[in-house]
């Protein structure tokens, strides 16, 4: 069975990136590279829309499967090239399409080593898309790890501040997590009776997935240990307190477009892994199930939300501030997953749906926030909040969209963030009232740090000294149309999902129903 659409969608960015890197030469090549690379991400976006719209919700299940059975054809590790989408991955594929395009457009002003830059950016998009569509654990792992190389290069070469330190920290944290995951994968494979790497069952192809086979199987390694291995990898990537410390450094030093990708989709790989693997595999395992630790997950989530929120308020660097707010917001994802501890199906699926939606909305909202910080920084050359003020008069457009991102982030009704958070709270409150109650304060903190930052940066008086010089201040210009294209691309879904959430939630619900057995 080979549908082809997904394979093309996943590998198109990488193919274009590599071809451009090899063949683009000559005087006008810079402009050509920009247009071709952006064109590739636009086409990819269109393809992801086709995937999203083309998914038949009545049929449900896994669709658009590309299957090549003999990819690693040895009995010791039988792995297939198996990709496809279901309700859980389709919206995330779409999200990657949107953010990939926004990131490429947001890189318009990059001048340094342009050819390599776009190559890595496009390779990054391919690896993230690959993670979301992979239905074979080995393939999933390869895409999950491959993303490190482009990210390392993008932060280390095009970053600011202490780029090499941050890039190295990012790689080491993720590599360490990844090593645990690989051990977990091998441990699942060698379990007698499992001997497959398929992450889901696909009856049409006669594929029986790990979730069914692992239920009741006698595991060689205790299920709790395998669960922990996967959980460590995802906790690092999400990131959860206390393994979050790579995130602020990576974000602060990364170029704008890379921050957009990092916050927008890379963190979602972990959320997706939590739902697909941690939740999908460990519901009926012998000796241990995910329900046993849902309470701990809720506690860690609450700590992440509140710790992230409090640290965020103290930040004086705009980018670092948004980076820390991500920790708080991804804590909500974890909280939503913890709803699985509920015995009532309605509440647990509400929480899980909320977690999935939170991933989608956080991707667009935080992506937008990073983009706006980037635009502001390009003009003022500082992200230090006490040095800024009164920018509203000079850059109204930037201020407005910054405010939209801020409102989305603090959960203003009619914007997408509100829907996700309310669903999470509805799902978890009945099971973990204390953790949920504490986490709800995260929303208050979010309102605090967001509004306070917007107030200090865009409104109020311009600080006399030290601040940005008169010369710079007088020449400040608002965003032009080149800047606005990616901004609109990210702002639109915030409104659409806020007003009409079912366009995404119906899809996620199909996926969650399939994962929860």
């Amino acid at each position: 069975m080979f549908d082809g659409l997904l394979t093309i969608t996943v590998f198109l960015p990488a193919a274009v990136g590599l071809l451009v890197a090899i063949f683009a030469r000559g005087k006008n090549s810079d402009q050509q590279i920009r247009w071709i690379s952006i064109g590739a991400t636009v086409v990819t976006f269109v393809l992801t829309v086709m995937v999203f719209v083309g998914y038949d919700q009545d049929l449900a299940g896994v669709q658009m499967v590309d299957y090549l059975e003999r990819w690693i054809p040895i009995d010791a590790l039988r792995s297939s090239y198996l990709i496809g989408v279901d309700g859980l991955s389709a919206p995330l594929v779409l999200l990657t399409g949107i953010l990939g395009m926004a990131a490429a457009l947001g890189s318009w002003r990059i001048k340094k080593r342009l050819r390599e830059y776009f190559m890595w950016l496009l390779l990054l998009q391919t690896s993230v898309l690959g993670v979301f569509v992979s239905l074979d654990l080995m393939l999933f792992f390869i895409f999950f790890e491959f993303e490190l190389i482009p990210m390392f290069m993008l932060i280390a070469i095009w970053g600011s501040g202490r780029p090499r330190y941050s890039a190295m920290k990012f790689v080491l944290f993720t590599l360490a997590g990844g090593a645990f995951m690989l051990v977990g994968i091998l441990a699942i494979y060698v379990t007698p009776g499992v001997n497959t790497l398929a992450m889901v069952s696909i009856p049409e192809l006669g594929i029986v997935g790990i979730p069914e086979l692992i239920a009741g199987a006698d595991l060689v390694v205790p299920a709790a240990l395998i669960f922990t291995f996967f959980f460590i990898a995802f906790a690092v990537k999400l990131p959860l307190w206390p393994v979050h410390s790579w995130l602020p450094d990576a974000h602060t030093d990364a170029p704008t477009a890379v921050s957009v990708m990092l916050a927008g989709v890379l963190l979602k790989m972990a959320g997706y892994g939590l739902l697909r693997i941690s939740l999908g595999f460990f519901q009926e395992t012998k000796g241990f199930t995910i329900h046993d630790v849902a309470g701990y997950m809720a506690v860690v989530a609450a700590v992440s939300v509140i710790y992230g929120g409090i640290i965020t308020i103290r930040q004086t660097d705009m980018k670092r501030l948004i980076a820390y707010s991500s920790i708080s917001h991804m804590g909500f994802v974890m909280l939503g997953v913890a709803a699985v501890g509920s015995s009532a199906v309605e509440t647990s699926t509400a929480g899980l749906n909320g977690a999935a939606l939170q991933m989608f909305t956080h991707g667009t909202i935080t992506g937008l926030a990073f983009l706006m910080v980037g635009l502001s920084y390009d003009r003022t050359h500082t992200r230090h909040i006490p040095h800024l003020g009164g920018l509203w008069k000079k850059m109204p457009l930037i201020a407005i969209f910054f405010l939209i991102a801020g409102f989305g982030s603090l959960g203003l009704p009619a914007l997408s963030g509100f829907v996700a958070e309310i669903m999470i709270f509805l799902g978890t409150f009945s099971v973990w009232p204390w953790a949920t109650g504490v986490s709800a304060f995260g929303v208050v903190l979010a309102a605090g740090y967001t509004l306070w930052m917007v107030q200090r940066v865009f409104f109020g008086a311009r600080p006399t000294s030290p601040g940005i010089s008169d010369e710079v201040y007088d020449n400040l210009t608002d965003a032009n149309w080149v800047d606005m294209v990616p901004v609109i691309a990210l702002a639109a879904p915030i409104f659409i999902v806020g007003i009409w959430p079912s366009v995404i939630t119906d899809m996620f619900d199909i996926g969650i129903q399939a994962v929860v057995r």
């Binding site: 003999r70 990819w71 040895i74």
Partner: protein, 504 residues
């Protein structure tokens, strides 16, 4: 000799003839470009003859033993002959510029024909099924390398050549000692007959391999080939010879010599000592060697400042990973379905490693021939100076490191998977820990290439032939990493010819 014997031996005969042709051409013309071209084009003949034996184009594939049961052109040996011919082709391309240089052009023809002769020896070695033939082929393999290492007559070159010669002689002596014991015990030098006689000879309970004579013999044989495989504790010569010998020779040694040695040790172990009980005994021996080799190779590589020495230690560590696959014997399998996983993973690892290591070495040759600096600091800022070579080298290093989705990662996963199936979990743990140690020194080189600033900012690019060779090696590494089934299927076919390997 019968006509059948000629068929079976045809690739080796063609290789030996090619070596003579190359020397003759060298007498007629002084143009090294012509010598290289003749050698490169001439390789088509042995390649076609090998393909013929694999596919049976001109009549049935000759599978039976030939030359009085001393030689067998089965698919197992043909698989290795393909690797050897690929390495040979790459070496000719990579040394095209080198043999045309001023100090080399008087010995250019000799250089190429010596490499050809050495490969001829290796091709016989991987096919030999009898101990004396193995020994003779081994000497044919080693002696040209001695001359090659010392071909410069520089102090370092002569030191490298002498070192290689002395240690080679010692290892041969050990090997012969081992052969003598097994001959004395079983009364045969034929591998199949040894297996048959060992099965009927009485065994002493509690003694590994059933008898001290066999135990001693296996240890001697492993020690003898351990030298060729560059396995700890017979690895001391590697960094010195790699540093002292011309880099194309080091590249050739690191891949071809290692592949041939692994092939012959696999054949001896599976054919002569392929009994299930014996298998478990030598599996333990190789597992210990693997653990020591990986760990020591990687640890010693950490402090190296010369890129050729670093690669030398890296090849030692890689030999350790291959030994993991060798130790994963069918007799220990958890499930009966995965019987051939161990040997199959060895073949896959060796093929992937061949492509990767050639890409790395060729890139290093191309770079050092321009910069005349083989310290790691000499690679600083290479990305700006020569983006293409830097890209090739970084790709190759990432593959050696085992970064997904390169062939280096795939081969490691397959080898570790085979080891898990063979109940060698402790060895897998050590292996995974080793890849983390290895990451440190590979990343150090990559950091120098990508991030450090160069002292000399001048740009340069490589000569066409070596660039083509490195490019093809890198493409091979890429393809077999993204599509592992291509190589694994070949490896599976190569196993099916040696029955002991799947019946276990």
């Amino acid at each position: 000799m019968t006509a059948q014997d000629f068929w079976v031996l045809s690739p080796e005969i063609a290789m030996a003839l090619l070596a003579l042709v190359v020397i003759s051409v060298d007498l007629v013309t002084r143009s090294m470009a012509k010598v290289s071209t003749v050698a490169f084009v001439g390789l088509v003949v042995p390649l076609i003859l090998t393909l013929n034996l694999w596919n049976g184009w001109f009549g049935d594939p000759a599978t039976g033993p030939a030359l009085f049961d001393t030689f067998e052109a089965d698919r197992f040996s043909l698989f290795f002959k393909f690797i050897l011919l690929t390495v040979m082709a790459g070496t000719i391309l990579a040394s095209a510029k080198y043999i045309a240089s001023d100090r080399m052009k008087d010995y250019g023809g000799e250089f190429v024909s010596l490499v050809l002769l050495s490969v001829t020896g290796m091709m016989i070695l991987v096919s030999a099924t009898e101990l004396i033939t193995i020994y003779v082929a081994l000497e044919l393999t080693a002696l040209p390398v001695v001359a090659l290492a010392a071909i410069h007559r520089s102090k370092q070159g002569v030191e490298a050549g002498t070192k290689f010669f002395v240690l080679s002689a010692i290892s041969s002596a050990l090997l012969l000692y081992g052969f003598a014991y097994i001959y004395g015990y079983t009364g045969s030098t034929n591998l199949h007959l040894i297996m048959e006689r060992l099965a009927v000879l009485p065994t002493e309970p509690g003694v590994p391999f059933g008898s001290y004579a066999v135990l001693l013999s296996v240890i001697m044989i492993v020690a003898g080939f351990g030298f060729k495989m560059a396995v700890v504790p017979w690895q001391m010569w590697v960094p010195d010879v790699y540093q002292g010998a011309p880099t194309p020779v080091a590249a050739f040694l690191s891949v071809a010599s290692k592949a041939a040695a692994f092939a012959v040790i696999m054949r001896i172990m599976y054919v002569a000592f392929g009994d299930a009980n014996l298998m478990q005994d030598w599996s333990g021996l190789f597992a210990i060697l693997a653990a020591v080799t990986m760990t020591l190779g990687n640890t010693l590589a950490l402090s190296q400042s010369n890129i050729k020495r670093l690669l030398g230690y890296s090849t030692i560590a890689q030999a350790g990973y291959i030994l993991v696959g060798l130790a994963s014997v069918p007799a220990n399998q958890v499930g009966a379905t995965s019987a051939g996983a161990g040997p199959q993973s060895v073949l896959y690892y060796l093929a992937g490693y061949a492509f990767t290591n050639l890409a790395v070495f060729f890139a290093v040759i191309a770079i050092t021939s321009r910069t005349n600096d083989d310290s790691i600091a000499g690679l600083n800022g290479l990305l700006k100076r020569s983006p293409l070579l830097a890209g090739l080298l970084v790709f190759g290093l990432l593959s050696l490191l085992g970064m997904p989705p390169t062939v280096g990662f795939m081969t490691k996963v397959v080898v570790f998977g085979a080891a898990l199936n063979a109940n060698l979990t402790w060895l897998v743990v050590i292996g995974v820990m080793n890849t983390v140690i290895a990451a440190y020194y590979y990343l150090r080189v990559i950091r120098a290439i990508v991030f450090e600033d160069a002292v000399d900012e001048s740009q340069f690019s490589a000569d066409k032939p070596i660039l083509v060779a490195a490019g093809f090696a890198a493409i091979g590494a890429g393809v077999f990493g993204l599509a592992p089934f291509l190589m694994l299927d070949l490896a599976e076919k190569a196993l099916s010819i040696v029955p002991a390997m799947i019946t276990g």
